[in-house]
Symmetry: C2
Subunit: 156 residues, 2 copies
């Protein structure tokens, strides 16, 4: 299977230049474009307040690892987790992909996020790793762990 | 490149059975064993209070994503991050790997951790994703993001 690794916005992560060497030529634009498209849907589902749509972007048996909670497992639990985040004030989500690597039906993404609330108030920003899986429904988020860069989490 | 995916202790993660289907036959025991060995060294460096040893288990340009801090980038910053965690009371680290997938010189791991302090007091437990990279020095942790399962982080 073809190995691919691409940096989408390496300059946005301080010091990521070191990863750009041997792998930068192995670019699978299709996978990166698919993930970029789905990340657009993540941002859209938040702006629409549609937790069902958000959870549909995960695999059926996904593990969603938010801070200060055990893994939410499966779309129903993940739907509830996103609904709670929206109820807590999340009205806008911005995702910035720094690295994508893909290998057959699996891909990984390293990125950063920004969350805003009503009137564009800044609520949180941080980093994440997502493991993606290609399914019969297309690429889906399969494993995710993220945390805040802020000295205290948004809900502290 | 050969694609491999194995579940080491799938039973330990509720609901991971769904991932055991098509990929379970693709097992690269060597990579899983290497990661298990290095995780043993992570646990050992903490019990020895040796932040230099801990940081040597990462790639030169690794990104270490602890909660409530930006990515620590590179071994010096990562060394300092581990030293601070030890100064905050971490005397024991237990790592439990739930899933490993490897693809050529890249691997990913999903797992859980437990941190204990003096007199085995429980300080923290949570989950992580690590992206591993095979280097001339062997497998090294290259990207890591983790967070606590506890309702409030260990330092709140």
């Amino acid at each position: 299977m073809k190995r691919v690794l691409m940096l989408l916005t390496a300059a946005a992560v301080v010091g990521c230049s070191g990863t750009q060497g041997e792998d930068a030529s192995d670019v699978d634009g299709d996978v990166a474009a698919a993930i970029s498209d789905i990340n657009g849907q993540f941002m859209e589902c938040v702006s629409q307040g549609d937790a069902d749509l958000c959870s549909s972007l995960f695999t059926e048996d996904a593990l969603y690892g938010a801070p200060n909670l055990p893994f939410a497992q499966g779309r129903t639990a993940i739907r509830d987790a996103w609904e709670k985040e929206m109820e807590a004030g999340m009205e806008s989500l911005r995702l910035m992909t720094d690295e994508v690597g893909s290998f057959g039906d699996t891909a990984h993404e390293v990125g950063r996020y920004v969350v805003e609330g009503p009137d564009n108030v800044h609520l949180d920003h941080g980093k994440y790793i997502v493991l993606w899986k290609r399914t019969s429904e297309g690429w889906k988020a399969h494993r995710e762990v993220f945390n805040s860069d802020m000295a205290q989490g948004p809900q502290d």
